[in-house]
């Protein structure tokens, strides 16, 4: 699939694109967008994993890159866990804990969408195994857990300790590590990590040139590149859409339907094959920015307040940010970024109008709208229409953004359809 698109944008225009590097960059942006704990937790874990693995004598570059990716994506599965569990303070009940434990499996599922990251996906699955066998999901003991998964697990826990998260005060981190050696961690790994820390390496979140080179070495591996070249576009879409599916299933279904409709619209408008494929890709990815928005807003029954509305309006930009490092996705990115622009200029994010909106974005806008009108995407809103109208008219100027009123008047929208523009 998507050969015409790939040949044009990666074959002809940009034959030297660093496919693996682009993927890494995009992944990193996704991770930072969905980061729950604090900024750069995953970045730090990824780098620490890489350093620790090198310290214990792993020298194979492919393996090192896999560990790095495993560290970067280790908590990506939390995207499929309800927000209130992740933010919950205090002890989780047994059931809540069971839900939380699924994040390793979800993470594995997401990472395994990229075939070259198959090893990393397995490591993600096991990053909560403990040395004494009381971890999850499989309860592996000691060296039954692959060494590299132990590395990821240790670095994850270490970062939690360092920022005073789970176990103790930040100052007592070395005591903490030693105490859990042989219980939670492999004792053989703890010492190298303490050494790393004493050298001050564990705090540094900038890649050294040497480490950069290790990561980039995937780029020159023929089999990796061949695998990527063969199916690059599908891999990217699959990865991002699986992510969205884990976050908000309805949105993923919606994206697939929109892609199908886009294709038909493109055929009707007699677009070229290459434009058609661009449109389908954009259709699949147009809502991917929603991974950065809380489910409580996406699923909110009833009207959104202005803060929530502003939050949800950011999703085209989020999507554009994710797609930015992908050098061949320029047109896709433009279409996705502007898929909420309106012909009369009342849309967002830039408020451009008429022919200034890219053609593909205009098509995408209509397809998005048409699908939202024919399918129930969120929980049905319980307000009777009349009541909401009253609330809106009454509330404009005080509670709602006055600009919003203009938007309502211009479009004379039924309140139930307000979300369709979202």
């Amino acid at each position: 699939m998507f050969e015409a698109f790939f040949n044009e944008y990666y074959g002809k225009r940009n034959p030297n694109a660093r496919l693996f590097h682009e993927l890494l960059e995009a992944t990193s942006r996704v991770v930072n967008l969905v980061e729950y704990k604090d900024a750069h937790h995953s970045d730090r874990v990824a780098l620490n994993c890489l350093r620790l693995a090198r310290r214990i004598g792993v020298s194979d570059r492919t393996t090192l890159a896999q560990v790095y990716f495993a560290g970067l994506l280790h908590d990506i599965g939390e995207i499929g866990v309800p927000d209130n569990l992740i933010y919950k303070k205090g002890k989780l009940s047994e059931e809540e804990f069971q839900v939380l434990t699924t994040h390793t499996a979800i993470g594995e599922q997401i990472a395994s969408q990229v075939p070259v990251l198959a090893t990393a996906a397995r490591l993600i699955l096991w990053h909560h195994e403990r040395w004494d066998g009381t971890g999850y999901p499989e309860g592996l003991t000691m060296n039954e857990t692959p060494m590299l998964a132990q590395v990821v697990s240790l670095c994850d826990a270490f970062d939690n300790i360092r920022r005073g998260g789970l176990f103790s005060k930040p100052e007592e981190w070395d005591k903490e590590l030693t105490r859990f050696a042989g219980i939670q961690f492999n004792p053989a790994l703890v010492h190298p990590l303490i050494e790393l820390t004493e050298e001050g390496l564990a705090d540094d979140i900038e890649c050294s040139p040497e480490e950069e080179e290790v990561l980039n070495s995937m780029e020159i591996q023929d089999d990796v590149i061949a695998q990527l070249r063969e199916d690059y576009i599908s891999i990217i879409i699959n990865f991002l859409l699986t992510l969205l599916e884990a976050k908000h299933k309805e949105s993923a279904l919606h994206s697939k339907r929109v892609a199908r409709l886009c294709r038909r619209m493109g055929m009707q408008m007699k677009l070229s094959e290459q434009e058609l494929q661009t449109l389908v890709i954009a259709g699949n990815l147009h809502d991917v920015g929603k991974v950065g928005i809380q489910n409580s807003i996406l699923d909110k029954p009833g009207m959104l307040d202005d803060m929530e509305y502003t939050a949800i309006q950011r999703h085209p930009q989020y999507a554009a940010t994710i797609l930015e490092p992908l050098s061949g996705f320029g047109e896709v990115r433009a279409a996705v970024l502007h898929h909420h622009e309106r012909w009369n200029g009342c849309g967002y994010p830039d408020g451009v109008s008429g022919q200034d909106i890219p053609l593909l974005a205009r098509v995408l806008h209509l397809c998005d709208l048409a699908d939202a009108l024919t399918h129930i995407r969120t929980v049905p809103r319980h307000f009777p229409t009349e009541q909401v109208r009253y609330v809106i008219e009454d509330g404009f100027g005080s509670y709602f953004d006055p600009d919003l009123s203009q938007y309502f008047e211009a479009n004379d929208l039924e309140p139930g359809e307000q979300e369709d523009g979202i």
């Binding site: 309860g139 409709l261 408008m269 009369n344 009108l373 024919t374």
Partner: protein, 524 residues
């Protein structure tokens, strides 16, 4: 009792022993490998030594902690996860005993800390005590339940498939429901579609859940788009959309059963020509026209191609609408199931085809002479039992030799085929048409009387006379002569009846062809 004795040793003592044994783990592992190699012989050499190493290290850890819980857990885990339940409970417990016996042996043969032998033996005694056995057994059963349950279900489903008979497939309308329902239960699938098309039977099954919630018809939103939302849309794009809607395009998931069947029938050749890679398919199939992803909200799906030959083909499709995805194991089971089913169906079709070859006339597709005689026998027996009459019509094409000579044998063959089709369509289903030989046909008319037999004979004659026979644009008139006879009024047995009908046919020919003649009663 045992627990108290174990507690008699101090923590430090036990730790010392454990550390000592740990230091010599390599040698002990070799010993246990020699001892237990046979128990695990179904494993690869490397795998089995890994298993035993784990077993030993957990035994040593249990020794150090003075608690067997850890050791038991490892045993159970080995039995369920690593060995896929190929070990029975007594073998599991034997493995556990071997681990301790090896330790005791090692200690007695090598210099070891004082009392280490006592410590190991006490733990060993505890392991062999009844209460530990019971606990081991309970845990084992509990863990086994899920795995076993599925295995039993799988085997019983495969058994059901292997016992399918022809009559089940052809007559039992519940079969697809039974098989697919169980398959989907085992695979925990949400949606399932299966169809099989063959010249002998057709099977269609669909069970779809997880439907997308629609709120209005696409056609209805056109009006809204054209008025309220007009300012926000590009007019050119809107026009294109209107056209798309007018063509009846729908981009969502469809569930109407009739449409699904049509879609699958249409899709099958493409599916067979480019089969999907044999694995679990993920949510995204970028072939947007793939009907399989249009009939349900596909998340993770598997397909199996039931292709037997170009006239007999089918397809099984199962889908899970939500995570987790199907596993490789699920796919393996689907393949086994599909393979077994395909073989059974293949056999049924082969049998049917052989039977058909033996009983029908290859050119015209009606019964051959042997089958005609069988039917005659059956009908005459039935008629005598219930005191009915059976009519027999003998049909012969007038001047057939002339047609062959004038137009050629191809036209002759065409006439025969056309005539048979004409009769099959024109007569009732209970009337049995057979080719008796050359251009001569017979029609058995069950439960007839004098009048009915004559009416049927007349119908045959008029059908042929009124039909236009046309070959390569050349039209030629065709008539038949019919002789009819009645059992038991005119004959006492099969041969007699055929003879009477034949005589009547001869009479009809002599009287000028294109007419029906009734045989004279026997006494005349």
């Amino acid at each position: 009792m045992a627990a108290v004795e174990i507690a008699a040793f101090g923590h430090d003592e036990r730790l010392e022993v454990a550390l000592h044994l740990k230091a010599h783990e390599g040698e002990i592992t070799e010993q246990i490998c020699q001892r237990c190699g046979k128990l695990l012989e179904f494993l690869e050499q490397e795998e089995s030594s890994r298993v035993l190493r784990q077993l030993l290290s957990s035994a040593i850890k249990s020794l150090g902690e003075g608690d067997l819980g850890y050791f038991l857990l490892t045993l159970i885990r080995l039995a369920t996860r690593n060995l896929h339940l190929q070990l029975r409970i007594n073998e599991v417990s034997l493995l556990g005993e071997h681990a301790f016996i090896t330790l005791v042996d090692y200690i007695s043969q090598n210099p070891s800390p004082v009392r280490s032998r006592d410590i190991v033996e006490e733990t060993y005694l505890k392991f062999t005590s009844d209460e530990v056995r019971v606990k081991l057994f309970q845990d084992y059963m509990h863990l086994q339940e899920n795995v076993l349950f599925r295995q039993v279900e799988e085997l019983s489903l495969l058994g059901q498939v292997s016992q399918l008979s022809e009559s089940d497939l052809v007559r039992d309308a519940q079969i697809p429901e039974k098989l697919m329902g169980r398959l989907m239960a085992i695979l925990q699938a949400d949606d399932g579609v299966a169809f099989f098309h063959s010249q002998f039977f057709r099977v269609i099954y669909s069970k779809l859940i997880g439907q997308e919630r629609t709120r209005q018809d696409p056609a209805q939103i056109l009006e809204m788009l054209g008025t309220k939302m007009l300012p926000s849309l590009d007019p050119q794009v809107l026009t294109a959309f209107k056209n798309v809607i007018k063509q009846g395009f729908y981009w969502g998931v469809q569930h109407k059963e009739r449409e699904i069947n049509e879609m699958l029938e249409e899709y099958y050749p493409r599916f067979h020509a480019n089969p999907p890679t044999p694995k679990v398919q993920r949510i995204l199939d970028f072939d947007l026209d793939n009907p399989l992803t249009q009939i349900c909200a596909a998340h993770s799906y598997m397909t199996y191609d039931l292709h037997i030959d170009d006239a007999n083909y089918g397809l099984i499709f199962v889908n899970r609408a939500n995570p987790p995805d199907f596993t490789e194991e699920d796919f393996r089971f689907l393949t086994t199931f599909g393979g077994a089913l395909r073989q059974i169906i293949g056999n049924v079709i082969l049998t049917n085809r052989l039977k058909e070859m033996a009983t029908t006339d290859p050119l015209t597709g009606v019964n051959n002479r042997r089958q005609f005689e069988t039917f005659m026998e059956i009908e005459l027996t039935r008629a005598s039992r219930y005191s009915h009459s059976v009519g027999l019509a003998m049909v012969d094409i007038d001047h057939f030799k002339q047609i062959n000579d004038t137009y050629g044998h191809q036209v002759g063959d065409y006439v025969l085929v056309e005539l048979c089709e004409l009769l099959t369509e024109g007569l009732r289903a209970t009337e049995i048409i057979s080719r008796y030989g050359g251009e001569e046909f017979t029609v058995i008319i069950p439960q007839a009387d004098y009048d009915v037999t004559l009416v049927v004979g007349e119908k045959i004659r008029s059908l042929v006379e009124e039909h236009k026979f046309e070959y390569d644009g050349v039209e030629f008139p065709l008539t038949v002569s019919v002789g009819v006879a009645l059992f038991p009024q005119m004959a006492v047995n099969r041969n007699g009846l055929i003879e009477m009908a034949d005589k009547a046919l001869y009479q009809a020919k002599r009287n000028g062809r294109n007419r029906v003649c009734m045989a004279a009663a026997e006494e005349n």
